[in-house]
Subunit: 132 residues, 3 copies
């Protein structure tokens, strides 16, 4: 497994990590298999979609409408960031992407995106490549 | 990895692809492992649930309430389909299903469902079967 | 693949199944790989997040706001639990977690959580560990 540092700079932010995952696939030497891409944090997510800049802002704005900050959550008595946990659960903590002929089987418009929901922070990303 | 064509006929639609995934598992000869089922598109999703017809309509209607079409998204200045991207992120672009004794470990009521969110279009589905 | 019984006691409830998944990883003898954790039911989910008690209540309350019970769903003419299916689709039926050095690569605050959305019932959890 490879672990990469991801430094986020904003309270909420989308970071394109496709290149990191592609590097892990190359380093693994796997020809046919899959990459499991996982965040080890509870207020971030990993998703696959188009990395177009305005869409990324739409994603962060939409997530904020789905689970607004400070909407009377019980956990906020402890930590103040329940909204970030809920958005992370909605988007998911890991994705699996097939690897074929030594490359990630992403579509033309797909990128692997790390979503910061309670930053800025020093984060990590785990990539495990399975197969032969 | 096997890639299957999926032709969608409606603007939004759910297509049961369980048979395609089961075929890929059989062809792979894998006895113990997992199937990674992935859409290479950014305005579709792959989920696991019951394929009952009225529930599938509920799913599409519910997704439309969660991320309504044309709700002032910035990306709509470029492409007009931000709602479909957001619904796809909410549902997810891939699922992993265990394979045991040469078969998908789906429950009695579970099917693998391809969700079209910006059709109709000619789509593809990737299935990679891992294991021995 | 290992299958574990999960008995739920409430209508909606979060059960920490991290220990079950860790046990399956140990039993598998896999050193480098990934665990695919899947629910075979259509009104439950498996997610990764912090198991803090108040946050778990927030999660169930939030899911109930996202897909309220009895909100005029068509499927409710058949079964009365469309809301539980929709919440399950939103959260997801499976997660994949890297295994490295013989252990699940969960972050400090992460647990694997089984989410009951239409209980109480006798449920099952499937864990398949891939790798060497």
């Amino acid at each position: 497994m490879e672990t990469f540092p991801v430094e986020t700079r904003e309270r909420t932010e989308v970071v394109d990590v496709t290149g990191l995952v592609e590097g892990a696939v190359r380093n693994s030497g796997v020809h046919e298999g899959a990459a499991v891409v996982q965040t080890p944090h509870t207020t971030t997510a990993v998703v696959i979609n188009e990395r177009e800049g305005r869409l990324m802002q739409d994603l962060l704005d939409w997530a904020a409408r789905m689970a607004p900050d400070g909407a009377g959550y019980r956990h906020d008595g402890i930590d103040g960031n329940a909204h970030a946990h809920l958005r992370g659960i909605m988007m998911g903590a890991s994705v699996s992407v097939p690897v074929t002929e030594g490359r990630l089987a992403l579509g033309t418009w797909q990128s692997v995106l790390f979503v910061e929901l309670d930053g800025p922070r020093s984060r990590r990303l785990n990539v495990q490549v399975l197969g032969d």
